[in-house]
């Protein structure tokens, strides 16, 4: 047995990636999760509209962070419409509309589950008026118009996900996870299999351009990924009752861009992996942070800023934003330009790197 143990340690020492996964990954995960694994959003981004917007905005309780005010007077409908647009476009999770009745109207975006839950809890606490509670204190001070107003709103309406169902926010995000799985994990395995079997060297001398090989390898996975997406959406809408309120074309464009990035990642991983085992390790190392840090599970606002920047280089962050926005809030493409642009940029960077690596892989070069 001693010989087996010594042999196993020798092999492990030479398999740097596995060693790194065994030692570095737990530490990294602990640090990342320590800072990221929180469902508690620090405050709820709130917009205030209507004649009393400025005053209400100034006196918002601490749990509600002012994200914008709209002091319109031209039309009675305008503030409410503006407020709904702010929620639809994801600029805020709560909108307070004043001047439309005896008390303010509070609109909550149910598609931002954790913000919505916090808002509902805070409003309930305000109504209960617990002495000593800082929110209640703010609400009961003479100057705190908003506090007293929020303690007795005319109406509270939860939009997009009135029952605050978890499945409503998970299904659009899970569609992205499945695309990452097919696009990155399966694609990288498919390409590495070619290398491991020794057929890549055969392809290198065949009358094929690198683009032909690249396209030929990637397009089937692209088709499978899209079929998977259709199945996930069908199950989500048909079985879990998740609404699809927005434009199918906008969603399809976002999905195409996202698949583009994930496939590029898959090819990139395969080009730096000698074996399928190495490819799986690398693919998992890209999949795990995407699941944990993209806002799919933990709200981005709850992630420490020192770790949050990682989320902004992960494609799933942007796809989750697009899919939730389009499916749940019918968010138009005009207000989703930023995640679209980020996905496109990631797509260009990743695919360029993948193509260059793949070309080097196929084109003859000494020392290969």
């Amino acid at each position: 047995m001693r010989a087996m143990i010594v042999k196993e340690f020798r092999q492990l020492r030479r398999d740097r990636r596995t060693l790194a996964m065994m030692i570095v990954m737990p530490v990294l995960l602990l640090v990342i999760l320590g800072y990221a694994a929180s469902f508690n959003v620090p405050d709820v981004p709130t917009v205030v509209a209507g004649p009393g917007a400025a005053a209400v905005g100034r006196a918002l309780p601490k749990a509600f962070r002012l994200a914008g005010t709209y002091q319109a007077s031209a039309s009675a409908q305008a503030p409410a419409a503006w407020a709904r647009d702010q929620l639809r476009d994801g600029h805020a999770a709560v909108a307070i509309v004043t001047g439309a009745g005896p008390g303010p109207q509070v609109l909550i975006d149910g598609s931002q589950l954790f913000d919505a839950q916090k808002a509902v809890q805070e409003l309930a606490a305000l109504r209960a008026g617990t002495p000593g509670d800082p929110i209640t204190s703010a609400a009961t001070t003479t100057a705190s118009v908003a506090g007293s107003a929020l303690a007795a709103p005319a109406s509270v309406q939860i939009l997009y996900n009135p029952e605050l169902k978890t499945s409503f926010i998970m299904v659009p995000g899970l569609a992205g996870v499945i695309l990452v799985f097919v696009g990155t994990v399966i694609t990288s395995l498919g390409v590495v299999r070619e290398r491991q079997a020794g057929t890549m060297e055969q392809l290198a001398v065949m009358p094929l351009r690198p683009a032909d090989v690249f396209g030929g390898k990637v397009i089937p996975y692209f088709a499978v990924a899209l079929a998977d997406l259709a199945i996930v959406l069908g199950v989500g809408v048909g079985i879990f009752g998740v609404p699809f309120r927005g434009s199918a074309a906008t969603f399809a464009l976002g999905a195409l861009l996202f698949v583009f990035v994930t496939l590029g990642l898959g090819v990139l991983i395969s080009s730096v992996s000698q074996t399928q085992g190495q490819a799986i390790q690398l693919a998992v190392m890209t999949l795990l942070p995407q699941v944990l840090l993209s806002g799919l599970v933990f709200p981005l606002a709850a992630v420490t800023i020192g770790v949050r920047w990682i989320a902004y280089i992960l494609p799933l962050t942007y796809f989750t934003e697009i899919s939730r926005g389009v499916m749940l809030r019918a968010q138009p493409i005009t207000s989703l330009w930023l995640p679209f642009a980020c996905l496109a940029l990631l797509g260009v960077v990743v695919t360029t790197l993948a193509t260059l690596r793949f070309r080097a892989f196929l084109a003859p070069g000494a020392g290969k």
């Binding site: 020794g198 060297e201 001398v205 065949m206 094929l208």
Partner: protein
């Protein structure tokens, strides 16, 4: 140089010189064999000629990719596709008309005994059948240059005969065949032989030229060689000791007619002895002909 091949090519893998100014020529309707021990540089040379690897120096002469058939050192086929699917894929890539592809595939599979396994996954084939499939696939485009990396290594005698039928067929169709092997008996059937050792040319010419260029004689010893100089010039073959006797050396044992294997052994010994500085002491320096080619 005539035909396809490589002129003075050098390849480095990091600090290791895999090929050092090696020249090889493959002419139409002829088999050129690259022979050498493991790590001699055979695969590297064939990869260069096939276009899979670019040399750091020297030039490669090869036809367009569509006119090259290549069997790499691996299987060269997809183990998760059936025999027929592998060949159909290869035909499609090379743009071979369907009728011609069907005709060739049918003939080759029947002749090599693979027809019964046409629907079997390549991964389920024996080593010899897999190698035959690889060669058939490489021959499908009716290449001008057929590059085969050790097609017969580890293959049973019957399958070897089938493989040689395929190679002979390619030669008859006018292909220039460049193949590597570790078997000198196979190399002796070639039109031209290149012997590699540690990335350098040890010998080059027809098998007869290489054998004729052996300086001195070869003798079979009745027992183990004497320690010292004789021991350094001896090697074991088929259970007996053979010794190379340079022109000035005294005769020992029974002198035999050398064959290609003896010639390759002598060439390797001479390089080794020269490196030790012992070669000059034998008074056999200044050798020329095929063995001298590419030395140093």
């Amino acid at each position: 140089m005539t035909g396809w091949g490589a002129d003075e090519v050098s390849v480095r893998f990091g600090s290791r010189q895999a090929l050092d100014r090696v020249t090889v020529s493959a002419v139409p309707s002829q088999v050129t064999v690259v022979v050498g021990a493991d790590g001699a540089g055979k695969t590297t040379l064939l990869r260069c000629v096939a276009g899979e690897l670019a040399p750091v120096a020297g030039t490669v002469r090869r036809p367009p990719a569509r006119r090259i058939g290549y069997l790499p050192s691996g299987t060269g086929v997809y183990v998760d596709l059936s025999v027929a699917e592998n060949l159909r894929f290869r035909s499609a890539i090379y743009g071979i008309p369907a009728s011609a592809a069907r005709r060739h595939i049918g003939e080759y599979l029947e002749r090599t005994g693979l027809d019964a396994a046409a629907d079997r996954l390549a991964g389920q084939l024996s080593g010899g059948m897999l190698r035959k499939l690889g060669v058939v696939a490489a021959m499908l485009p009716e290449p001008e240059l057929l590059v085969l990396d050790e097609p017969t290594t580890g293959v049973d005698p019957v399958s070897r005969a089938d493989l040689w039928w395929l190679i002979a067929r390619a030669v008859a169709d006018g292909a220039a065949v460049l193949m590597s092997t570790t078997y000198t008996d196979e190399a002796s059937r070639a039109g031209r032989v290149l012997v590699l050792d540690s990335g350098r040319t040890l010998a080059d010419g027809t098998p007869a030229e290489i054998v004729a260029a052996v300086p001195g004689t070869i003798a079979v010893l009745p027992g183990p060689p004497a320690a010292g100089d004789e021991r350094r010039r001896a090697w074991r073959r088929a259970g007996a000791w053979r010794v190379w006797l340079p022109p000035a050396a005294p005769t020992v044992g029974e002198v035999v007619t050398p064959d290609l294997q003896d010639a390759v052994c002598v060439a390797a010994l001479r390089r080794e002895l020269a490196a030790f500085g012992a070669f000059g002491a034998d008074g056999a320096s200044g050798a020329d002909g095929a063995f001298g080619a590419g030395d140093g």
